[in-house]
């Protein structure tokens, strides 16, 4: 719902923060800013040519989605690559995408199917060219297009918040997704989407992401005694 004009923050300031946010976001995901690299305010103000306030605001937003770590009075740094956190985030993404497929696919309009078709082709092209960053983006776009068609803003924003972990995964590519399997997996989901078969699409998404749970249970989940000592919830 659009807010009344009088309630919005000053435009210049909001834009500035978003520009800084996007530059840093891209810099972290393409590796310009390396995992673990310390981010000094002075260096960022010099690099981006803006004042401290929009930089701090952008950094807080990046900390929120796990791309930046801030320890007050100690350091602000690019979050190191954490395979466990990445696996957990992709698993969680899978839960959202699976359910989105089940509920949204039956009512998809043709325009969305066309966009899914394009994203699937982009995935195929990127896989063939071994262009991993492009592959990650196209893969992510495929599912975000699907979710946006469901018009649940909270679902989309939670998924978008998890995207960076998925996109970061491409820089340390290994199990559970094989580069060559992705185009075929998405082609199957796309075919189910074209048939408006939500159950089939959901089952295929679940299958696609099943490896993340398997890997989590094998490599990352703690023993029950450790869980009792320091529960996550």
């Amino acid at each position: 719902m659009p807010l009344p004009v009088s309630d919005t923050a000053p435009v210049e300031r909001r834009l500035l923060r978003d520009v800084v946010y996007n530059r840093l976001y891209d810099g972290i995901l393409d590796g310009t800013l390396e995992p673990g690299e310390t981010l000094l305010d002075e260096k960022l103000t010099a690099w981006l040519g803006v004042s401290r306030t929009p930089i701090r605001e952008a950094l807080m937003k990046l900390a929120d989605i796990g791309l930046v770590e801030m320890a007050p009075n100690r350091y602000t740094r690019v979050a190191p690559i954490d395979l466990k956190a990445i696996d957990e985030a992709i698993y969680t993404t899978g839960l959202l995408h699976e359910q989105a497929a089940r509920t949204i696919v039956p009512t998809l309009d043709n325009a969305t199917v066309t966009r899914l078709d394009k994203a699937q082709k982009d995935v195929r092209k990127a896989a063939k060219a071994r262009d991993l960053p492009a592959l990650g983006r196209a893969f992510n776009d495929f599912f975000l297009e699907l979710e946006r068609a469901g018009e649940n803003d909270v679902l989309v924003s939670v998924s978008e918040g998890l995207s960076p972990q998925l996109l970061r995964y491409i820089s340390v590519w290994q199990n559970p997704f094989g580069v060559d399997d992705l185009p075929a997996a998405l082609a199957g989901i796309l075919a189910a989407a074209k048939d408006r078969d939500g159950a089939q699409a959901g089952d295929l998404v679940r299958e696609l992401y099943a490896g993340t749970l398997k890997q989590f249970l094998e490599d990352y989940r703690r023993r029950d005694v450790d869980i009792a000592q320091s529960p996550v919830f």
């Binding site: 956190a85 957990e88 969680t92 839960l95 749970l213």
Partner: protein, 224 residues
């Protein structure tokens, strides 16, 4: 007069958390009402701390969707919007159903015992379900057993916004609708039927609790 913050090793952090928890509880319990305007000075006096930790706590609450900050203008408790509430309940339901499905095969005997007890806790359907959907309730059993930190973090972030709407609800209709799904969920999970338990979890949210959003529909709200 704000209390000066000096001394201890990392005092700001702790005070910020203290302010955050006080405000969080007040919003969930309805002591601070949806749409109510918040004034820094009042909060400073109420909690007895300076402006910086208050602003930090408010920023944290804003990131959770509980507070709206319009720079240079005003800060208020986010009003309850039916459309947003429906989206939120559906999304939390998806996460919960996923956790229920994948944690069911991991449950211990003690977990199953705790789940059965959870079904009988609370004086009525509303309190059974509100407690159930917290770290102290059935949800806590599943989330802890799965041990996925990302799901836990997302639920910690989004549950309070849902909880305050459940608390603000005047009717028990949604809870009465959700109660049979809770029983089905726990019966299936304790019997090791993961997919069935997950379906019941989805129903609990998407057929039961979501109807609570209708209570917050008003012709045209002007909360200012």
């Amino acid at each position: 007069m704000p209390v000066p913050v000096t001394g201890a090793a990392s005092p700001r952090r702790l005070i910020r958390d203290e302010v955050f928890l006080r405000l969080l509880d007040a919003i969930i319990d309805g002591d601070l009402l949806p749409g109510e305007q918040l004034f820094d000075a009042e909060i400073e006096r109420w909690v007895g701390v300076s402006r910086t930790p208050v602003r930090e706590a408010l920023n944290q609450l804003a990131a959770m969707g509980l507070v709206e900050i319009l720079p240079q203008r005003r800060t208020r408790v986010t009003p309850i919007e039916p459309a947003r509430l429906r989206d939120l309940i559906a999304t939390v339901g998806i996460l919960v159903a996923g956790v229920v499905r994948d944690a069911t095969p991991l449950l211990t005997d003690a977990d199953r015992e705790e789940l059965r007890e959870a079904l009988d806790s609370g004086d009525d359907a509303a309190s059974t379900i509100r407690t159930g959907l917290s770290t102290d309730g059935f949800l806590g059993v599943f989330v802890r057993r799965l041990d996925n930190g990302t799901v836990a973090r997302l639920l910690k972030r989004h549950l309070p916004e849902m909880q305050r709407a459940l608390k603000a609800s005047k009717s028990t209709a949604a809870f009465d609708k959700a109660r049979p799904s809770l029983k089905a969920l726990i019966d299936a999970a304790t019997a090791g039927k993961a997919d069935k338990a997950a379906r019941a979890a989805l129903d609990l949210f998407q057929k039961g609790l979501v109807t609570i959003a209708d209570e917050f529909v008003v012709p045209r709200k002007e909360l200012r």
